[in-house]
C-alpha cells in the first residue's frame, strides 16, 4: 500500500516548509528571475505536494521535487498569462535552464544570493529585517508584524516597497565579489543581530513570540555559517548562543531583571555554552576576526566562570581593550570601565566613567549613570551615588530597569 495518511503528509510538509522553503524560494528566484513569480511557484509546489504525495508517496528528494514542480507550475502560469498580457513579464526562458538546478551546491549558492539580496544596502534597515524574515526564514507577514508589535498592513507595505526597490535598482541576484564581501557581510550580520536583539531585549509584548525571534536569528546564523564559514559569522553565532544560554536566568518569574553577577548559573544552558565557546575558539584561531568575535569571547569568559567572583576580569579588560580598538564606541568604553573596576577596584573604574561623562558622550544614557552610581555606592560615597541613580531613573522608561534603580535608591537609605 503506497498511500500515506494525508495528515502525515501535511506534518512532513510543515516541517519541510520550515526547514527548506527559504532554499526552495531562493533557487526559484534564480530560475524564474522574479521574486513574485517565485512566491507563487513555492505556494503552488507545496499545494501540489499535498495533493500528490498521499497517492504517489514521498519523493526521495523532496526539495528537488518541490523546486522542479514549482518551476513547471510557473512556466504553466506564464504561458496562460501570455495569452492576455503578452510579454509583460521579461524573464529568462525557464525552459532553457538545465536539470541540475537543484543540486546541493547550487541550492546553497542560491540561499546566499537570497540573503545578500534581502540585506542589500540600497534597502532601509527595517526593510532588510522584514524581507529577510519573510523570504529567508519563511515567516508570514502577520507573524513578523506580531513579533515587531506592528500592524500587518504597515509591514506588508514595507515589504512591497522593498521588493519594488530591488526591481527598480536592478539589484543583481548574486553573492558579492570577494572585494565587496566584508562590507556586505557586515550588513547581513547586522540584520541577524538586530533580529536576535529584538527577541532578546524586548521590554514589552507577549514574551513567547519575542523569544521566537531570537530562535529565528540563531537559525539564520547557523544557515549563514553553513554557507559562508567566515570568522565573524562564527563570532556572531557564538555571541547569540552565549547570550541565549542565560535566558532562563536573566529575569525572575515576575519579569524583574537579574544582573549577570546575581544570576543562578545552574540555570544557564550548558549545551549552548559548549557550542558557543567552541565557535569562539575557531573564530579566534583564524586571526581574521572582528567585533562580533571579541564580544562573543567576552561572553565566553563569563560563561566559563563557575561563579561571578571567579570571573577572569583581567582577560575581560584585555578583550574590551581590543574591542575598543576594533570598533571605538563610548558604550564599549563604559563596559571596559566596569571591567576595570572589577579588576583594579571601583576607584579606577570611576575615574574612567567620569572621563567618558565629562566628554558628554553618554550623558543621556541611563546605564552610564547607573554604573557610576554603583561604583560610588561601593566606595561609600552615598550622596554621589544617590544623584547618579536619580539621574539614571530620569533617563529610562523601561519598567524593569526603573524598578531596579528604585530598589537601589531605597537600599541607600
Amino acid at each position: 500500500m503506497l498511500e500515506i495518511a494525508i495528515e502525515q503528509v501535511r506534518e512532513s510538509l510543515d516541517a519541510i516548509y520550515r526547514a527548506e522553503s527559504g532554499r526552495i524560494r531562493a533557487t526559484l528566484i534564480r530560475l524564474l528571475g522574479d521574486f513574485d513569480l517565485a512566491e507563487d511557484a513555492v505556494h503552488d509546489a507545496f499545494a501540489a505536494a499535498l495533493e500528490r504525495w498521499p497517492q504517489d508517496g514521498m519523493p526521495a528528494n523532496p526539495r528537488a521535487w518541490l523546486i522542479s514542480t514549482g518551476r513547471f507550475k510557473a512556466i504553466d502560469a506564464l504561458r496562460r498569462r501570455a495569452r492576455f498580457d503578452a510579454a509583460k513579464e521579461k524573464i529568462a526562458d525557464p525552459m532553457e535552464t538545465g536539470d541540475d538546478c537543484a543540486t546541493d551546491e547550487s541550492v546553497a549558492d542560491d540561499s546566499l544570493r537570497l540573503i545578500f539580496t534581502c540585506c542589500h544596502p540600497v534597502l532601509t534597515q527595517e526593510a532588510r529585517v522584514a524581507l529577510t524574515l519573510r523570504e529567508v526564514c519563511g515567516l508570514t507577514t502577520e507573524e513578523i508584524a506580531r513579533a515587531f508589535l506592528m500592524a500587518a498592513p504597515t509591514l506588508a507595505q514595507r515589504i512591497v516597497r522593498a521588493k519594488a526597490r530591488i526591481r527598480e535598482a536592478r539589484i543583481p541576484y548574486q553573492v558579492p565579489s570577494p572585494e565587496e564581501l566584508p562590507e556586505r557581510l557586515a550588513t547581513v550580520l547586522q540584520v541577524v543581530y538586530l533580529v536576535f536583539n529584538e527577541g532578546y531585549s524586548a521590554s514589552s509584548g507577549p514574551s513567547l513570540t519575542r523569544a521566537d525571534l531570537s530562535g529565528e536569528a540563531i537559525r539564520l546564523g547557523r544557515l549563514l555559517l553553513e554557507l559562508l564559514p567566515e570568522p565573524e559569522v562564527m563570532g556572531l553565532l557564538a555571541l547569540m548562543l552565549l547570550q541565549e544560554s542565560r535566558r532562563a536566568a536573566r529575569a525572575t518569574p515576575t519579569g524583574e531583571l537579574i544582573l549577570l553577577e546575581h544570576q543562578d548559573r545552574s540555570l544557564w544552558n550548558r549545551k549552548q555554552i559548549t557550542e558557543g565557546v567552541a565557535l569562539v575558539e575557531r573564530a579566534l584561531i583564524s586571526r581574521r576576526f572582528g567585533s562580533y568575535t571579541l564580544q562573543s569571547a567576552i561572553a565566553a569568559v563569563h560563561a566559563e566562570a563557575p561563579a561571578a567572583a571567579s570571573t577572569d576580569w583581567p582577560q575581560i579588560v584585555a578583550l574590551y581593550t581590543a574591542l575598543a580598538q576594533a570598533e571605538p564606541s563610548p558604550v564599549v568604553e563604559l563596559n571596559r570601565a566596569v571591567a576595570v573596576a572589577m579588576c583594579d577596584g571601583p576607584e579606577a573604574g570611576l575615574a574612567l566613567i567620569n572621563a567618558i561623562l565629562a566628554r558628554g558622550d553618554l550623558a543621556e544614557y541611563h546605564l552610564a549613570h547607573s554604573a557610576r552610581a554603583d561604583l560610588c555606592r561601593r566606595l561609600g560615597r552615598k550622596s554621589e551615588a544617590r544623584d547618579s541613580y536619580e539621574r539614571a531613573l530620569a533617563l529610562t522608561q523601561l519598567e524593569p530597569a526603573r524598578r531596579f534603580l528604585e530598589q537601589r535608591l531605597r537600599e541607600l537609605g
Binding site: 513574485d36 512566491e39 507563487d40 513555492v42 505556494h43 503552488d44 499545494a47 507550475k73 502560469a77 496562460r80 498569462r81 495569452r83 492576455f84 519573510r134 508570514t140 507577514t141 502577520e142 507573524e143 500587518a152 498592513p153 506588508a156 515589504i159 512591497v160
Partner: protein, 129 residues
C-alpha cells in the same frame, strides 16, 4: 490562510462603460479568475447585483425590520467578493495587484478571522448546558 477581497466600484460605472471596453474587462477578469482557480488560490467568490436589489434586515423594537437597499450609503459600492487562498498578506496583495478588476475600483483585502477558538468555547458551553 484565507483572505476576503471586497471589490468596490462606483455606482453605474460598469453599466455606462462602452460595450467593447466592458467586454474586454470582463474577459480579462474572468481569465485571471480562471488562473487563480487553476492554482488553488480561488477559494470562492461572487459578483454582486446592484445595491438597489438589496434587502437589509435590522433588529428594531424586538423584531426584525426589513428595508430596501443597502445598509450603508457610500459613494463606492461593493461589486463583488472573492475569497483568496494565500500564504500571507503580502502574497494576497501580490495576487490581487495583478487582478484586472483593480482598474475598475479598489480592492479591500481582509484576512479571514480565525474563529476556531470561539467555536470551541461555544461548543463547550452548549455541551455543558
Amino acid at each position: 490562510m484565507k483572505y476576503i477581497c471586497l471589490g468596490y466600484i462606483e455606482p453605474n460605472k460598469f453599466e455606462t462603460m462602452p460595450e467593447t471596453e466592458r467586454n474586454a474587462m470582463v474577459d480579462e477578469c474572468l481569465t485571471y479568475d480562471d488562473e487563480l482557480r487553476k492554482n488553488g488560490h480561488f477559494a470562492g467568490g461572487e459578483g454582486l447585483q446592484p445595491p438597489q436589489t438589496a434587502a437589509t434586515l435590522r433588529w428594531v423594537d424586538g423584531k426584525v425590520s426589513i428595508t430596501d437597499g443597502p445598509y450603508a450609503e457610500t459613494k463606492k459600492q461593493i461589486g463583488g467578493v472573492l475569497i483568496l487562498e494565500a500564504r500571507d498578506l503580502n502574497h494576497a496583495i501580490q495576487i490581487m495587484s495583478k487582478h484586472p478588476g483593480v482598474k475598475a475600483g479598489p480592492f479591500e483585502i481582509r484576512p479571514a478571522a480565525d474563529l476556531s477558538e470561539m467555536i470551541r468555547e461555544s461548543e463547550q458551553r452548549r455541551a455543558g448546558a
